[in-house]
Symmetry: C2
Subunit: 195 residues, 2 copies
């Protein structure tokens, strides 16, 4: 069992409706040492990919993406959820549905920050149905850049996002894949992985 | 002139309506080395404050807060902008108006993550009218915690946010204070600071 799986068992809370709360260390309060470890682990798993940019989506992916970008020594870009008056008109867009918030957002990345030369590592904290990830993949490919890898902290293995993205041929690495969880007794079962 | 002021002169873009675009290095694409420097500088300026937690607001404050929290070796907490089904009912709230997006958001911090023992460093990327900052101050004080310091990357010195917060007695440190800027010729004038 790796460091993130251990931490989920220790501090994660299973709620009804297949909700896994990790807000004490991953996506509201953040344990800086843990996030650093996640960044290092992504670097280890994608170290042969000549990553030139790390891409994520606001908000909770930002710290993880930053930690990864530090290890690669490359810039980090985060997709924004709404049109701001501070963003130029020239941007890539994708429509993203949120499992957590039950709504749709248009996400945008300025065309200045992705180019056909880029080898992009996409990262996020959670993967469930994969909508956010599909949006980031679509934006990367619209730029003519390469999706060199995808790093996820926690994947809900019982939802279809991970499988469909792997079926498309992307190297998707999730540090913890939850196979099942039980809000009655708090149990979390992880998929066995050789890493 | 410090490292951030130099970077603003090099890569910042002045737009009409007193908009300073720093999206190539601070709040859309992020220069990791620069953000690390900002974190170190906040640590230097508040090293005597026994900080126990760094607090920010999503989204663009997160990387800066993370960089600062790394230096202090403490957890980072970010206030969220909307009610998520993944957040418990028990939370501190504040109403925040965005200068950039021209809208109001309710921001929330779970009561689990701030306590009366906490000495909080509040950080953000921008300070203009101070609404976001006032929300974070109000949440910190509602928790009975101490606002031990406030660190801002870029302050718009010609708006009233910084003055009103300093008048309230808080130690507010802005790494770059823009006194004026001109979208005609791209000039940016900084307030002289002894730091």
């Amino acid at each position: 069992m790796n460091f993130l799986e251990q931490r989920i068992l220790k501090d994660g809370i299973v709620k009804e409706g297949n909700v896994l709360k990790v807000d004490s260390f991953l996506n509201h309060q953040m344990d800086v040492a843990l996030i650093d470890e996640i960044g290092k682990e992504f670097h280890r798993r994608f170290s042969d990919k000549e990553i030139t940019k790390v891409l994520t989506i606001e908000a909770s992916g930002i710290a993880i993406a930053y930690a990864a970008a530090r290890c690669f020594g490359v810039p980090m870009v985060f997709a924004k959820k709404a049109k701001s008056i501070n963003i130029d008109g020239d941007m890539y867009t994708a429509e993203v549905e949120s499992f957590t918030h039950k709504n749709k957002n248009k996400v945008i990345v300025s065309k200045k920050f992705l180019s056909p030369e880029d080898k992009v590592l996409i990262v996020d904290d959670f993967l469930a149905n994969g909508c956010a990830l599909q949006g980031l993949i679509s934006i990367t490919e619209a730029a003519g850049a390469e999706v060199a890898g995808i790093g996820i902290a926690i994947e809900k293995g019982f939802q279809y996002g991970g499988r469909s993205i792997r079926n498309l041929g992307y190297q998707l690495e999730s540090l913890a894949i939850v196979e099942s969880m039980d809000s009655e007794n708090g149990n979390v079962v992880f998929r066995a992985q050789d890493k």
